[in-house]
Symmetry: C2
Subunit: 465 residues, 2 copies
């Protein structure tokens, strides 16, 4: 017989959204249990230390400008931040040639730079017309959702060098190419994060700051006061629910099988994963089919660790944009105390898939080639090289975020946040501000906690299990 | 303790593909167990009888011209077929006006008809260039896969009456609109089924014939000689596998929990559903992420049953194409013995989603309006009206078929059939002939059986569990 517990709200997933919801609900007096499949909290926020002692983030790692919830949480928890290193020139590798540039836009081809900037401005302007809380109500939503971002780019920049530059940014942001992204979804996402230029930027943008000691401290800090309300090693596989009650079953993890009875459940995970749980009764068609239409992006995150950030002495800021090889982009990832030097890079979209098929050795060889090409021969010999292949990660299965494929938002959009009986939906994918970012996770946790508290408040006192 | 059984091959799913594989493997001497979640065989082939005694197919129901496997199986099992009724005029409802026409193409607007035919010919011609066994190797595959069919249509026929006509056909064929379909996938699908005109056609096409007594008899006939090798009420939820062994776990169904050990497993279900099982070790990223990118179409199948096929006397063949209301298309579905009259219709794509949200009553009211508009006031009063809403069906979750979203085939295509260790993939979605049809299911069953037999033959004798 499984161990059985009862509470007001069971939260499935101890990422930032689930933990934030649990904290808010606990604060107003509800009994909460948080079930986490992994042996750690944080979800896509995951700080690790190499055998050589270098601490790094396997998942989300940046604090962007204008991310008030994340900044406030870090301040509250005493997690300090520091600016992402950006002084000096970035490297552009395009069509087999290396050049360097300053700022956001590679400039080896001035026409391409101008075309690229114009496309970014056009996209950012169009994004402002897409309501972040209901993209499906945008003017011309069906048309925007019936095409890919690649179609838009083909019309506006063609097969130009500007397209190459934009593709690098898109792959880095979404973990997949423009060919997979609904144009409506892409515009929503850009709007929610302040625009493409903002999302691609370090200084003043989404990659402005880093956390001393890593981003997972935010989740750990949220979880600590929750104490044994957070149960690790407890993968949920089945959920039975009625109009205002729910029973959640775990099993197959480190913890003994649990049966949690509650008045509400918060599913704090990407839609593709919540759709994989066994619901009784089955989810409504629209919710289930939405889950089928929000696949995870494909990204392998790479950390190359050196004794020192030697590129800085060469006037380089550690940033690379490349149209060849495995790594399409890199950033300086050295710790704030100067104890060593590090680069973080992304193998994204079709590159991520291609190098998974080719195998770990082929990927590592390509990465070293990429690093040498960009930063010089010593870049070929990192002290340590770590790869985090998110599509293989069992309880995330991709990254950095779920995308919406064409037709999904216009056909199913309202099902993204609409509760199903006692089931409420959280996760950065449900955010209307900074969807896909730590900030979005926190916003979704706040929103779902308020939603659940209101529905429980509306329920007659004394009613319940 | 679960009941434990051992065999050579465990087949998950007793639809036509799984049963065909089981039969072929049994025939060459392998011990097979087939696990089926439902209390019946057939999967998307499901024949039922109304309280009033009318027998009808809730799922796939037609035998197309040039579907040799299906025709041979029916003949072998003594299941007779008869031509779909097509004599007389079809009804077109467009822009609020009713007209009638003969043949495949609505003719109320001759220019639209000409434009529509030209688009169909262009698509069918382009489809011939997409290799059915490797669409990702088509010339320009990345470009074709980076856009939707809606983008192609917008370029080739604009927002014209021809587009309205094509949209009806596309919704009927795919269960979703052109806005969701990768152009590459759509071309592959058309090629695999002999072209759009073929797929839309009754006489000489995909809807040419019907089975006396319903299509499920094919599955029942395949299952009968397998005897207790087929276990009903046994939903699989977890699969553990090594290089050449697999353990499949069932539970939560009518049958007692089972643990089946085998040398190979055949997963005979749509990719979106196989991706929901708990695999240990987790599936490779590419396979898992492909499963996220092949959502099920959205279709509600409707049967309206009358005392007699009164429309025939009015010179109508029971076919409707409509741009308004719930039903976008209908066909005459009366039994061959003339015992009563019936129409079958489809609420597809966004209509299917919209009317799920509106509720059963609103959908039924819209359907009756549609029928009256098309076939006259007596069509408003069927003796019985049955709706089968496939997105809510737990072990299918949509229909008629899984589609591939933009980027899926070019990014992940080979993972569609590539075995993962001892795991092999079947189902009509893996077919290269008549993908999405009964014929495709049978072809995939044949293919996977040969694949498994070869891999087991190649394995050293005596090796095994």
């Amino acid at each position: 017989m499984d161990e059985s517990r009862a509470c007001d709200v069971v939260v499935v997933g101890a990422g930032l959204s689930g933990l934030r919801a649990a904290r808010d609900l606990t604060a107003v007096g509800f009994e909460v249990v948080v079930l986490e499949a992994r042996d750690r909290v944080g979800g896509r926020s995951w700080t690790d230390t190499t055998p050589g002692g270098h601490t790094y983030d396997r998942g989300g790692q940046w604090l962007g400008t204008n991310q008030p919830r994340t900044a406030a949480l870090a301040a509250e928890l005493g997690v300090t931040t520091f600016p992402t290193f950006g002084a000096g020139e970035a490297v552009e590798w395009r069509a087999g040639e290396r050049s360097t540039y300053v700022g956001l836009i590679p400039t080896s081809d001035p026409n391409a730079a101008a075309d690229g900037v114009e496309a970014i401005l056009d996209l950012d302007l169009a994004a402002l017309d897409v309501p972040v809380d209901a993209p499906w109500e945008a003017h011309g939503a069906a048309d925007l959702d019936g095409q890919t971002l690649a179609t838009w780019l083909a019309e506006h920049v063609g097969a130009s060098p500007a397209r190459v530059m934009l593709d690098v940014a898109i792959k880095a942001i979404f973990g997949t190419g423009a060919e997979e992204l609904s144009l409506l979804f892409a515009l929503f996402y850009l709007h929610a994060g302040g625009g493409l230029s903002n999302l691609a930027r370090t200084t003043g943008g989404a990659q402005a700051e880093r956390f001393v000691g890593g981003s997972q401290q935010l989740a750990v800090g949220l979880a600590a006061p929750l104490g044994d309300r957070v149960v690790l090693g407890a993968p949920v596989h089945a959920i039975t629910y009625g109009p205002s009650s729910v029973v959640v079953h775990t099993g197959g993890g480190a913890a003994a099988p649990l049966e949690i009875r509650a008045r509400r459940a918060v599913l704090a995970m990407p839609p593709a994963l919540s759709g994989r749980l066994a619901f009784d009764p089955p989810l409504p068609g629209r919710r289930d089919q939405l889950c089928m239409r929000m696949p995870m992006g494909s990204v392998t995150k790479v950390h190359a660790i050196y004794d020192e950030p030697f590129w800085r002495e060469r006037g380089l800021n550690g940033q690379l944009v490349s149209d060849e090889g495995a790594l399409s982009s890199t950033f300086d990832d050295s710790p704030s105390d100067g104890s060593d030097g590090a680069l973080v890079g992304f193998v994204a979209g079709n590159d991520c898939r291609r190098y998974e098929a080719a195998g770990d050795k082929a990927r590592e060889a390509a990465i070293l080639d990429d690093l040498e090409r960009a930063f010089g021969p010593d870049a070929r010999c990192p002290r340590e090289l770590v790869t985090q292949h998110w599509p293989a990660e069992p309880f995330t299965r991709g990254g950095p975020v779920a995308i919406s494929v064409p037709g999904a938002l216009s056909g199913f959009g309202p099902a993204l946040r609409e509760p199903v009986g006692p089931l409420h939906w959280a996760g950065t994918e449900t955010a209307t501000e900074w969807c896909g970012y730590l900030e979005g996770a926190l916003q979704s946790g706040e929103r779902v906690a308020a939603e659940v508290a209101e529905s429980l408040g509306a329920q007659a006192a004394g009613e319940g299990l």
